[in-house]
Amino acid sequence: MISESILKNVHKYEIKSFLKRNSVEKIDSRLTSHRADDYKPYSKIIDEEIKVNKINRKLVNEFLCEHICYSKTNIYHIFDLTNFFCFNTITEVQLNHFKSNNPKLLFNNLITDVTLEEEFQLCSTEVEHENDQINQISFLFYLGLVDTRAKGRTSFFSNVIIDVKQKLVFVKFNSNLLENAKYDKLFLINRLLTILTKNDEFQPLSIGYESFNEEKPQKMIFKMFSELSLEAEEILNKKIPLGTDEKIKSFLKDVKISQNEKDYIKQIKAVIYQDLSDNFQGNLFKNGWVFRFVFREKDYTRASSRTDDYSPIYGSKVYWNLKELIFKGKKMNDAGFKWVLPRNQSPILVKLESKNNGIIIQYYNDKERNNQKFRKEKDNFVAQKIRKYLS
């Protein structure tokens, strides 16, 4: 029997389309629940279909994990991976040997087979192995039951990823369940990291992590900000009609301003940039843009700006007014980026923040649209950027 509380991690319409995809019959008449928190018919139909072999447990497991580990997780806390049992090569035979020697790590366990009893219980471990190297290890932890207004008692999970390639640790949550959880996020993160590094069953993996010196993520976020912004400025500059500089110069002469000419030209041009950015919206910036930022001027004044619709910040006066100050400080507390990946279903919309000794990624507007493949591509892209700009 698949528990209702696990199923509540997925929306009903998503379960319906999963069943439809697998040619289950008479779905609508068998799923006649009208209350948002009643998942009984859904749990029943899955059990019945497993019994008649229309769908199998593995398929159900894949479907649930896709949602629990990928499409429904939108808050990641990231730390530095400093140690791991295998940064080098490992053959498939060796890896299988390791797996069978460590049954407590529950390699490839199906979530449909786990009895969820204890908080912080490990449910399953998966290894991504390619060309004799471990790309990543993914752990699924059960964190307990959470009561939500909409769906009632829901099983709350965290997916922890050891990204061996980029040497990062990702502790991932579903923000809605996290908000409703009885423990504070800080407690959960610390507990999970302690389990990974201290608990007996994890010892063979020799996982070591370190938090970041706050300077590093702040500089990293600035570098990402500056990469996209300078690129955008170059594009905008190309769009400025020929002879604009001369026109501004002659205008300044007409109004008898002879000092600080360069500065004024910049300022007037910024007005043209804003106009261009507003008119073209996203069409100009092929690789992406910044849609929000927060930085500290001195160490106790915060300045920020953001667009509500994730459109480019370059249309805002605030950006052009603060630009020099930002580039002078070279640090940023948080920033929102849109990156476009050519083959992905939707663009990456994320906020990156330096906080709580780590880096926090928050995905916007991405909960329903992404399957595992597309989200993973996004995660890898962001992880690469982080690693690149941390150094």
Binding site: N190, K216, K298, D299, D334, N357, Q362
Partner: protein, 215 residues
């Protein structure tokens, strides 16, 4: 004045055994720059980053100048804080200002409450220049003699031994693994203990009591 005071503490305490003399100049310059930039805090993580010193060493070094046992010794004050975990808040919550009941803290922006046990691993430390010291510094910042006296050692004639010493220490700083950041109160109190078992600063004692009470 300040430069001299830093040096006097450095010599009087165990600090001179543990850290090279060049660190005094680094700290002095760091204080001046932060004063000029009108920053409220002296950030040991920034100090660690720009000078390629481990966070552990950066914090311990700062602690030597934080002792208020003897009035003349205290140049810095320590401020412990953590960042509000609320996704939309991120306020810095200072333990001194935000304690409701013992071990219970409230974010003064979003009102979220925290217990000490949960925030413990996420506590960080900033330092502040004592008010007396900042007046010393800004009193007559144009006085030529003050400027000359406070001049960085690199502008003065160096003895060969001091150069050797600083190059030696640069090497050890590079050898130390990664610059780790999180500094739990336990680590901080551990750092606060000299090899002879005495405390570097007593500014931490209220927090040490808190730690003991909760264990």
């Amino acid at each position: 004045m300040l430069r001299k005071k830093l040096e006097s503490i450095y010599r009087k305490t165990n600090c001179h055994v543990e850290y090279p003399e060049s660190y005094i100049d680094l700290l002095y310059r760091f204080i001046i720059i932060n004063q000029e930039q009108k920053n409220k805090f002296l950030n040991p993580y920034e100090f660690s980053y720009i000078n390629n010193i481990s966070i552990r060493d950066s914090l311990t070094f700062f602690l030597y100048f934080t002792n208020d046992l003897e009035k003349e010794n205290s140049i810095l004050n320590i401020e412990l804080f953590f960042e509000c975990s609320n996704t939309t808040c991120s306020n810095r919550i200072f333990l001194n200002d935000c304690e409701l009941d013992p071990g219970l803290y409230e974010c003064n922006i979003c009102g979220k409450e925290y217990i000490y046990e949960d925030i413990k691993p996420f506590i960080k430390a900033y330092f502040k220049l004592n008010e007396n010291e900042s007046t010393l510094l800004s009193n007559d910042s144009n006085s030529t003699i003050n400027i000359l006296e406070g001049m960085s050692d690199s502008l003065k004639v160096k003895s060969p031994s001091s150069e050797f010493e600083s190059s030696l220490n640069l090497q050890t700083a590079n050898e130390g693994d990664n610059l780790e950041s999180a500094i739990s109160l336990e680590t901080l109190t551990e750092l606060n203990t000299t090899s002879e078992g005495t405390s570097i600063t007593n500014a931490l004692s209220p927090y040490e009591k808190l730690k003991q009470r909760l264990i």
